[in-house]
């Protein structure tokens, strides 16, 4: 290896970034070349000086400003609320809607038991359309509301993330 070739590799040699073979070639040349050894020393000093300068540390004011900016950014973005476990499947929304339907049905049955709502008399008095409408409403509420509530949730970004 000539000085010109070695010179090109010295900076990388000083920072330990050469391949094994390149480092060996460099080392062999350095053993016999005082000029390149001197260059290596200079590069090593530079690399060490650059690397050893203390790391910049964020001041408390800078950290606070960043935290406030991120707060504002997260409010503006309105990201999906933090979810984990069962929340990710949308189960609570479904359960809530189902509970509401359950309460509605219990109320209807209770009203019937207390003679506040008499389906039989409604049928006997020729008000079949009213009974049919009530049945349709119950079927609609029990079938579609939980689905609609669940489907309204935004898709979770994490579901598309590939790690």
């Amino acid at each position: 290896m000539k000085c010109k070739d070695c010179e090109l590799l010295l900076a990388a040699y000083a920072s330990g970034d050469l391949s094994e073979q390149e480092a060996l070639d460099c080392r062999t040349h350095l053993e016999t070349c005082e000029r390149c050894r001197h260059s290596l020393e200079a590069y090593s000093l530079l690399v060490e000086a650059i690397a050893s300068e203390p790391q910049t540390i964020a001041s408390s004011a800078e950290s606070s400003a960043l935290a406030a900016a991120l707060d504002r950014a997260s409010l503006a973005a309105k990201p999906a609320r933090e979810v984990s476990g069962q929340w990710q499947s949308g189960v609570p929304a479904f359960v809530t809607a189902s509970l509401a339907v359950f309460v509605l049905m219990v109320a209807a049955l209770t009203a019937q038991a207390m003679n506040l709502l008499d389906v039989r008399s409604l049928v006997e008095h020729g008000r079949l359309p009213v009974v049919a409408l009530m049945a349709v409403v119950i079927i609609f509420v029990t079938s579609f509301v939980p689905i609609a509530v669940t489907a309204k949730r935004r898709p979770l970004n994490g579901m598309t993330f590939r790690g």
Binding site: L8, Y43, L45, A49, E53, Q55, T56, A58, L66, P79
Partner: protein
Amino acid sequence: MSQLPDEELVARCGRGDRRAMDELVSRYHGKLLDFVFRNLGDREMAADIAQSTFIRVFHAAASYRAMASFKTWLYTVALNLVRDEFRRRGARVETISSDSDELAGQEIESPELSVLDRMSSVEIWSAVDKLRDDHRSAIILRFRQELTYDEIAAVMGAPTGTVKAWVHYGLKALRQSLDPTDCED
């Protein structure tokens, strides 16, 4: 939270998890400040750019795909902002170049007492500040941020060989700038 890898934290950020973002901030705020500050030499500007970088990352976290490491992505965003600032400032008035021939033919001094040995950090960083932008960024990413050459290539959008050349010529230019009598070519 502190045990989680960066990529998992970014995924959580994408779901709006502020604690995950706080963890990423605690890992990288200082490094990012250092990177920008060493490039621009302006602490206030460094804080602004570091802040903008994190906000951009936070907004884009949901669409982040782990094609490259988070660290590489973070520095890429920061470097783009730094380059915008370079452009805003216009061409740097004073730069030093390794291909200057004004030093050619000078004799080598004795290695016993190198001027570099006695350089203060202020002098060294003043010289770093005068390097070409890409040389300076490559050197800072390699020796301050300890990125590999491949990572730097990804951040800077250049081939790895080019990055190695930038680091080499940057260090060479620094050496010439700091100790003109010490250079043989």
